[in-house]
Symmetry: C2
Subunit: 244 residues, 2 copies
DNA sequence: TATGAAGATGATGTATACACGATAATTTCC
DNA sequence: GGAAATTATCGTGTATACATCATCTTCATA
């Protein structure tokens, strides 16, 4: 628990406001990364004064960043009691992954119908680049390219709202999707699943694309569920205050 | 344009902070209502000092409320240039309704599979209550019950995340869904569509429930699209500043 | 007269200060 | 000695003040 407190209290880079965007967005991005990578574990309290001191800014942009996190459901705000990193129960995890699987399937179905030949070619190219990272065992590279692969699928729907919705859910599950890439065998099987997906999309097979993408996400769910349960057995009770 | 400015500048109820929740949430709710009802038209600028004066509060909770609106995509924030009520092009409208239709269909499919007998009974009861409002021509009552009807469907999925996502998209399309209820004939046909949906759900017919719900939403899309186009013909150019 | 630059005006972005509420520690009473 | 109440401390909620940026006006110049 000590290093966690340090990660909150320790001073970070000055975070100049002269950057392209505002301070709050940078803060939000940083906190989001820390949540996804596990530096800020679920249930962790996010105190404004501490964060303000850590980043060398006032509470105002910190509040804004915390509100952004809350809006994307990565954190929960309890009135007069502070903001906490969202806590995942096995039920919530299942709900998140099922939603993600449904959305991915939906995107795949629409993408198989609507993608231009250029977009289909791009998807195929990404798929081949992913093969390289699998061969090298480069899990970081795989994660990056994998994100691009799925993004391409989403955008293939040619529906900006659907892209937004899907991305918002993906951000929510990101902290739990990530664990899969630590396993090399999962890297390979993930890529194998992609193969069928790409084939289905390239030939415009909407129902197969939908089904395979659903299964693709649900496979990750099973892994994450196991991981979460093993975590909760290790540290039994997480004491996040309930609402009122 | 004069009455619009007034609706922003005119002082409103004092908005005491002693209420159940914070000031920002109340502000957000009020502004959301004003957007949905059309008092604040798309493209309208939302200036913090004006709103602060109108509600008799400082800029801080106003900023928070505007950020909440921005998070739900009802408004757009342009750095250093202010917050504006989201502007809908026909393309965005179609994207929103298609997403909504897909999500409703998905919810209907899962609800048809998972609803308890009690939940199915509730849905049927709401359907019969809706019949009453149609008979009376009570469009306000219909709108309220209709919301409850669809909410029951969403919750029937037993997936909180999916409920959240669906509700968030519904809030986004709300300003454009609303116009349908001004037409009496639409009230009747909407209710007629519900009949088939309820039947499919009660007998657990997943694919028919999904398809009928998709069509049900897309019917509203057609109406809204016509309405939007007629609007844009009336007032040609809406001058919302572009990003940079 | 048209055009462009400089100043004025006002809004947004950020920082600081105060008020309220919650939690925790200490004291007091049983 | 233990439990309940009171006070102390700290964080959140709100208000206000200052800095920065955008826009509009105005005046000078071509």
């Amino acid at each position: 628990m000590i290093e966690l407190t340090q990660s909150l209290a320790m001073q970070s880079a000055p975070l100049e406001p002269s950057d392209g965007v505002g301070i709050a967005q940078q803060l939000c991005q940083t906190l989001e990364d820390d949540i996804v990578t596990g530096k800020l574990p679920p249930g962790q309290r996010l105190e404004e004064p501490l964060l303000a001191k850590r980043f060398g800014v006032s509470r105002t942009p910190v509040r804004e960043a915390l509100q952004l996190l809350t809006a994307s459901e990565l954190a929960e705000k309890i009135p007069n009691k502070g903001v906490y990193v969202s806590l995942a129960t096995p039920e919530r995890l299942t709900a998140m992954f099922e939603s993600m699987a449904e959305l991915e399937g939906m995107c795949g179905r629409l993408a198989a119908k609507r993608m231009t030949s250029g977009e289909r070619h791009n998807l195929d190219k990404l798929h081949h680049e992913l093969a390289e990272t699998v061969r090298l065992g480069d899990s970081d590279g795989y994660e990056t390219l994998n994100r691009a692969f799925h993004n391409t699928l989403y955008r293939g729907t040619h529906n900006d709202v659907l892209v937004d919705v899907t991305l918002s859910v993906r951000r929510r599950v990101a902290p739990f999707r990530r664990v899969q890439f630590t396993s090399m065998s999962r890297l390979a099987s993930s890529h194998a699943e992609h193969q069928g997906i790409v084939d289905a999309i390239l030939r415009g097979d909407v129902s197969v694309a939908e089904q395979l993408l659903y299964d693709h996400i649900m496979a990750v769910h099973d892994i994450s569920q196991d991981y979460l349960i093993s975590l909760r057995e290790a540290s039994p009770a997480n004491d996040m205050p309930a609402f009122k």
